[in-house]
Subunit: 349 residues, 2 copies
Amino acid sequence: MRKLTRKATIYDIARLSGASPSTVSAALGESWRTRRISEATVEAIRRIAAAEGYSTNMQARGLRKARSGLVGMVIPLHDNRFFSSMSQSFEAAARDRGLVPVIASSMREPAEELRIVETLISYAVDYLFIAGATDPDAVTAMCRAANLRHIFVDLPGKGAPSVVSDNAKGAADLTRRLLADRPVTGATPRDRIYLIGGDATDYASAQRIAAFRAVLTEAGLPPLDEQIIACGYAPRSALREIAALCDRLGGLPAGVFVNSVTVLEGVLNHLSRLPLDDLRACVIGCYDYDPFAAYLQFPVHMVRQDAHGLIQEAYRMIDENVLDLVLKMVEPELIAPRTFYDSPFSDRG
Amino acid sequence: MRKLTRKATIYDIARLSGASPSTVSAALGESWRTRRISEATVEAIRRIAAAEGYSTNMQARGLRKARSGLVGMVIPLHDNRFFSSMSQSFEAAARDRGLVPVIASSMREPAEELRIVETLISYAVDYLFIAGATDPDAVTAMCRAANLRHIFVDLPGKGAPSVVSDNAKGAADLTRRLLADRPVTGATPRDRIYLIGGDATDYASAQRIAAFRAVLTEAGLPPLDEQIIACGYAPRSALREIAALCDRLGGLPAGVFVNSVTVLEGVLNHLSRLPLDDLRACVIGCYDYDPFAAYLQFPVHMVRQDAHGLIQEAYRMIDENVLDLVLKMVEPELIAPRTFYDSPFSDRG
DNA sequence: ATGAAAGCGCTAACAA
DNA sequence: TTGTTAGCGCTTTCAT
């Protein structure tokens, strides 16, 4: 017969054990050593608590201690290999520290991002990670007002420590690789390399676009503005833009630098409609790694961003109480077509 | 100059506005209508609160109201297309209801799963979704003790409403499709279809395996036990098992039913080392959809589970206060090789 | 070695 | 229409 009563509190355990609530609190927590509660008492109290299915009410504890035990993270979206890897690492690292992770997705909407930050502040998260921030300054302002330690990941902010991929290096490496694979003359619009996807106003894309331009210029192929198609990250708009581009050019260009895995999804949607020989004449690079995308019918050069490393580094800053406005870079890695990268969680599924 | 003071409380707003804390509380919340606070007062209070950057302390509110405003969900892992889609839908649906989602991954470890449930209970989540439960009965026991409404998704439980994919139908469809694509005789070990991956003791895999067996049997090809290789969901073990299988058979079998997208990752890792012609002689099906996996060098038949539909249905049960031990089925969809499925979030990235 | 009591910030009776 | 008060469950001085 199921008990319909509310959850047990320390008062219940106190009554049952004959000890006082404060003793119970100490016995059930960490402070019993310093309070010099006898081991016998602690044992007895814990036994009873276990029997009653007691568990600490974290709302009450948090209220009293002014620490919730929660760590928040804002990501653009869950349904994305890069960000979901970050979530996985974020969660593991949180647990290692006895914290409970709360991950929310902003859909890259600045307003939504701020609403989420406000919500997380309401729940008194102890730290906040913001990945792919769309409005870092506003986030910093809110966190400052709430006295909340925060840290930017992937896209940096000016008001807090930041950990980002070395986008310039990753993009330069990828661009060079595309050129090496498929030398172009730049003589005709089709004999050029195009960059598609991303938001030219965000830091990561800006860095990548700059590197892309620089490498092309170095190679004596200074890019025209129309070679940069920063149409956002959504598959749907990427599909539209790559189709339009092929229309304009009368076919695929010599090469495409795809600015994220979600963009690649849209691009692939279009490419899949074209004859295979056309695809093979075009060299494709993608700024992000996906094991399946590594084995498509045409080779794809990929840049694997170190999601795990980014998160580790960010937690290190929290652990070491770094408050300086550092901008830490984590190296991405160029992955050759048809190569497997063994993720840190590949023994899980 | 940054204020270093703690966050504003209703007492601060009360002092500043000349109203009482309870009036402030009402004005800032929903109850001011029924309490018949004048609009003017409400306005004034809200203005001051906004100016002070006030936001409700949800720990305190939750403690008082015995409702946290949190909804929990346990998933096996974040870094997985199926589950991360679920997260995305779960979060959107939570927000529609004014709830804050807390998603935690169990890595498919029963002990971890229970620890997470206990943690979520500690934080007083108002509802709990458990996706891919490894120990549903234990979860139900804990939730009962804590008086927590819960619901199983993907893998059902006996003690609470459950929403699951129609695994039998999905697996039967996929198996039939494999047979249609690549008729086998069953005469030699290589001329058979093998199922790889999953956990034979979990409900979903059990259903799929049963359907796989049934379809083969119907077709006059009753499967041997060695045709079922339920080696778990991890890419790494799938890699090992498919390699071992090919070793035993002296090459790829006629067909492979891959039991999840993570398993496909491991399988692909092996297949990628084989000559393309060998792969093309083997028909591959995967129970899960991934847009990139849909465009590999060899065709892959896929079953798309309706993550969004599962979550919608689960929330519907919460909304309608369904308490019966129903087992609701959601139909998966067979997706032909090289087909794009347009996800509900493809306008995002 | 343990207990009593105050208070974290909020809401809901109950008063006025 | 608004104010006063008690108390949600916990931790922490301060007593003893």
